[in-house]
């Protein structure tokens, strides 16, 4: 069997190569240049890229993500590959995908409540233009008195505020984090607030276009939740500007878009959207809850990328509250299913113990649904579909995602939750759940990395100050942490080693260095006997200004 022999040799060679490649290497220097804060991916596109051809293929795309794409990922021996939309400070610059907001410059509660820019709340009455033909939420496409278009979504009967609240709160938090989302507004509708456009149609059963009649509207209204006095609560989502191109794929690039230079699975903003999804329990995160539009701004036409549809976030699964397994299990789990099978059911998923809790929670907070908080383990979060970008998330990406999530203060969470207009007790519970989940995320994804931020070098290179995010955000206390500090020159030659214990979340350490060359300070945080992945601050001597400047920050993958 020459083929098998050759394969064996090849695998041995690859193992040897991997072992050798883990040995110390030289240093990749950062140039002494300003940090890139713009990706410049909004250049004028002469020809509109073709629309997504698979926009309706929910099952086929799921099948593809679970089978050929997953096998391809494994067999291609990709390993961990660093994200490419990252600047010299290990941050994601502003692009058509993401623009840093709260974690770099905190938004005021008012800004959080305002949410994404858009046309503002709809002006009643609303004219129904068409049925809502995709997704499982009940709703209509409507136009307000000003001619502004919206997608109107209702809550399912028995769960007043569940879908509308999830849309309001999650879209605001995603926007505040830096993602592009459509703006959402709560509306309450009476009998005379909706009229049907004569040309209105709806797509029955996914293929049959029919005139939208009053009877059909009543049919929909029969299934929706109402206020006690009979008025209907709904969320109006602004119709996005520009030409709709359909969802974007979480793998590869959009054909025909010259601005789309980085494969989507290598975008940190998409990889680490997993952490946002975990926080907000977005078990349905996938290609299908995204949308690209060709917009025109400042005389340029380019594609902007949005996350849409937050109906399945928090405790909602759109038609019902989430099942205990939603957000904890994929639609198909080979290993877990096999383990359950061979263990005669003695192997249990964590969510299998949640039935009583679920019953209590859903009965007590029907507007919220099922959003586990106490004892929630962020690493157990799973989206129903396999998302290629999420699967490639490295600990460094997850750390960045945790930075986004943990940047939200209690006050900011309160501001977002207020927009959901929940009953008071539900509101408190949702705020509590989001705080608990945020803190769990901090422990899960901030601690494995040395949470060094905003490094500053002073006193001729002798003092390095920074923020320790893990301490600042309460994942650990300063006395529990010890830093192992190594200073090396640009050839990797170690100049000094030391150990420090911080006194607070903004420690300053002595480097013991007085040289004028390029230096790399490696800091490894040790806490509770565990070493975090290291962070390396690169600084260089700027001759003209006669001072050291930080030129880069990198972290171990």
């Amino acid at each position: 069997m020459p083929f098998l022999g050759a394969l064996r040799v090849a695998l041995l060679a690859s193992i040897a190569a991997h072992a050798l490649s883990c040995s110390p290497r030289g240093i990749r220097k950062f140039p002494d240049r300003p940090v890139a804060w713009h990706e410049h991916d909004n250049l004028n596109v002469l020809k509109a890229p073709p629309a997504t051809p698979w926009g309706d293929l929910l099952f086929t795309m799921g099948l593809r993500d679970f089978t050929s794409r997953e096998l391809d990922r494994i067999l291609s021996l990709q390993g961990r590959r660093p994200a490419e939309d990252v600047n010299a400070l290990d941050e994601v610059p502003c692009s058509t995908w993401f623009c840093p907001r709260n974690h770099l410059s905190p938004l005021s509660p008012k800004e959080i409540m305002e949410g994404a820019p858009g046309a503002g709340p709809p002006v009643l009455p609303l004219r129904i233009l068409a049925g809502k033909d995709t997704g499982t939420a009940l709703g209509f496409k409507v136009e307000d008195a000003r001619g502004q278009k919206y997608l109107l979504k209702f809550d399912p009967r028995g769960y007043l505020g569940m879908v509308s609240g999830a849309e309001m709160v999650s879209s605001r938090l995603f926007h505040a984090a830096g993602y592009n989302v459509p703006s959402a507004h709560l509306v309450t509708l009476g009998n005379h607030d909706l009229v049907i456009a004569p040309s209105a149609t709806y797509l029955a059963h996914g293929y049959d276009e029919r005139p939208l009649t009053l009877g059909r509207v009543y049919e929909v209204f029969d299934q929706v939740a109402r206020h006690p006095e009979g008025r209907v609560k709904a969320v109006a989502i602004t119709w996005l500007d520009g030409e709709v191109l359909g969802p974007f794929d979480m793998l590869g690039r959009r054909p025909g878009d010259p601005n789309d230079r980085i494969a989507h699975e290598h975008r940190r903003s998409l990889r680490a959207s997993y952490v946002m999804a975990a926080w907000l329990n977005e078990g349905d995160a996938s290609n299908f809850n995204t949308l690209d539009t060709l917009v025109e701004e400042h005389g340029r036409r380019f594609v902007r990328h949005y996350f849409i549809d937050f109906s399945s976030t928090l405790g909602s699964w759109t038609q019902w509250p989430k099942n205990p397994w939603h957000g904890e299990e994929r639609a198909f789990e080979l290993i877990r299913t096999a383990r359950s099978l061979v263990s005669l059911g003695t192997y249990e998923r964590p969510w299998q113990d949640d039935q009583d809790e679920w019953e209590k929670a859903v009965r007590r907070y029907p507007s919220l649904g099922w959003l586990p908080a106490d004892g929630w383990d962020p690493s157990s979060f799973r989206t129903k579909r396999k998302v290629p970008a999420h699967l490639r998330m490295t600990p460094r990406d997850a750390y960045w995602g945790a930075k986004l999530v943990t940047s939200f203060s209690d006050e900011q969470i309160h501001a977002a939750v207020v927009t959901g207009d929940y009953p008071r007790e539900t509101s408190w519970e949702l705020e509590r759940a989001l705080r608990v989940r945020r803190d769990a995320i901090a422990r899960e994804w901030l601690l494995p990395m040395t949470a060094l931020e905003e490094p500053r070098i002073s006193q001729g290179g002798r003092i390095l100050c920074f923020r320790d995010l893990a301490i600042e955000r309460g994942a650990i206390t300063a006395p529990e942490v010890k830093y192992l500090v190594t200073v090396a020159d640009d050839r990797g030659k170690v100049l000094s080693r030391d150990a420090w214990t911080p006194r607070g979340s903004e420690p300053c350490l002595g480097t013991g260095d007085q040289g004028k060359g390029y230096r790399v300070v490696t800091i490894v945080a040790k806490s509770n006997g565990h070493f975090a992945k290291g962070a390396r601050v690169h600084y260089a001597w700027r001759e003209l200004e006669k001072r050291h400047v930080v030129v880069g920050l990198e972290r171990d993958e």
């Binding site: 050759a6 040897a16 086929t60 700027r542």
Partner: protein, 462 residues
């Protein structure tokens, strides 16, 4: 190139790649503070550095090349699957099919049914389900299933609307089957059949059944059902199926001789004249289990008595008494089901009880490793133990042990050595619904093994 050469060549390439990959670090030259931020439009990376050189990339070139073969193979193999799936979705074929067979309010539906068990032909059919036409709470349930000329089953069940003062449910059934199984009326084991020179055989049955029933709750979980039936059955020689010979060849007076042309009435009572009976029956049931639970807990006790009176030339008169006790123990997403079923047929006249009226501890509620109809007797007892557990939110697996047998009148020849064990495994598929522990079953598959072989039972949409 022989295998040794291939190996050395691959090793040489791989080692040289490792060496090359570990060559010196890449360094990016500083461009000065006035150079402006890195700009991807100019082909620069956002961190301003040159791309990292990954030594593994070169070293993994050979394994990747080798694994490229299955990668391409998989893509080619899955390509038609995706194309078919895409075509179905793009044209909403599944939706079109569903709505072609379903009313707008989903109260009237037609859907396919599939049934298969080892030793019999697979059958397919349609089920019509209507909860609208006769009013609120009513039901019109029509089923037809066929396996070609061998099997045709048609059934109609009618339930009146809720408003009816004395709601009577009506059932009509017609069955034609030419491979029904017969293997004695004394619960014969395989050894006994062999000693008698008999074997499993096949017969034909044409059956018309009419039933009228009324059920009502008494107190709490206690309910009573009364029923009256008219049952007409004619029998004939069957076809050879699965190695089983037609009944005439096996259950004649002298099998294997030229005189073997008709069934011996002593061995198969009622075969020649068929069954023509009217029945009256009552079922008392105490059931504390929840109806809609995927993992039920509680118990049920059922006592059933039926009086059968032969008419139009059928002289048989007999009483059937049966009992069924089930205990379901729920342990989280697992359930342990213990069931004991038994019954006896007591003749009330000199005429023999027709063979098809005897009790058979086989089928989906009997010894599942045996073919339906394999055992028959004037009395029967079967114990079932089933352990079912969740393997996925929409999938359960079970292991099952059945132990049962059929005996003569009043359990005369009862003996543990005459009971037959079977073991099996099962799969059940459930719908995605509001809670996974209350979701309804879509399909079930069971495989059971006994000393007489293995048996597969599949039912979908029934």
């Amino acid at each position: 190139m022989n295998s040794k050469n291939t190996k050395s060549a691959v090793s040489a390439v791989a080692v040289s790649m490792v060496v090359v990959s570990l060559a010196g670090p890449v360094r990016a030259a500083g461009q000065g503070p006035n150079a402006g931020p890195p700009d991807p439009r100019q082909g620069e990376r956002l961190d301003g550095r040159s791309p990292p050189r990954n030594p593994r990339r070169v070293a993994l070139a050979v394994p990747r090349l080798v694994l490229g073969v299955p990668r391409v193979g998989l893509k080619l193999a899955l390509w038609p699957v995706f194309r078919v799936s895409e075509t179905i979705e793009q044209n909403a074929l599944h939706s079109r099919l569903y709505w072609a067979l379903t009313s707008e309010d989903e109260k009237i539906r037609v859907w396919p049914v599939v049934h298969y068990e080892t030793g019999f032909l697979p059958s397919v059919g349609l089920r019509y389900y209507d909860t609208r036409s006769l009013g609120t709470g009513s039901l019109v349930d029509l089923r037809a299933r066929t396996a070609g000329p061998s099997l045709f089953l048609a059934e109609m069940r009618l339930r009146p609307p809720d408003a009816t003062p004395v709601p009577l449910a009506v059932t009509f059934q017609y069955l034609h089957e030419n491979d029904a199984l017969f293997a004695g009326i004394h619960g014969e084991t395989e050894e006994e059949l062999e000693a008698q020179g008999r074997a499993e055989s096949r017969y034909e049955v044409d059956r018309v059944l009419g039933r009228i029933a009324h059920a009502r709750g008494l107190v709490g979980p206690l309910s009573l059902a009364l029923r009256g039936e008219v049952d007409v059955r004619d029998f004939d020689n069957g076809v050879e199926r699965n190695g089983d010979r037609p009944i005439v060849e096996v259950y004649c007076t002298n099998p294997g001789t030229p005189s073997c042309t008709e069934v011996d009435e002593r061995l198969v009572p009622g075969f020649r004249h068929g069954v023509r009976v009217v029945r009256g029956g009552a079922t008392l049931r105490l059931d504390t289990r929840s109806v809609d639970a995927r993992y039920p807990a509680g118990f049920s006790v059922l006592v059933d008595s039926v009086y059968s009176h032969g008419v139009i030339g059928d002289a048989s008169q007999h009483l059937i008494l049966a009992g069924d006790t089930r205990l379901s123990v729920r342990i989280g997403d697992r359930t342990l089901l213990l069931s004991v079923r038994g019954g006896l047929v007591q003749p009330l006249s000199d005429a023999s009880v027709p063979f098809d009226e005897l009790l058979s501890p086989t089928g989906s509620l009997g010894v599942r490793g045996l073919k339906t109809g394999r055992l028959r007797g004037h009395s029967a007892l079967v114990g079932l133990l089933e352990y079912r557990w969740l393997v996925a939110p929409y999938l359960d697996t079970s292991v099952l042990v059945d132990y049962g047998g059929a005996f003569d009148q009043g359990f005369q020849n009862f003996g543990v050595d005459r009971m037959i064990p079977s073991v099996g495994i099962g799969l059940r598929v459930f719908r995605h619904e509001k809670t996974y522990w209350q979701s309804g079953r879509i399909a079930a598959l069971q495989v059971a093994f006994s000393e007489e072989g293995f048996r597969l039972l599949l039912s979908a949409s029934e």
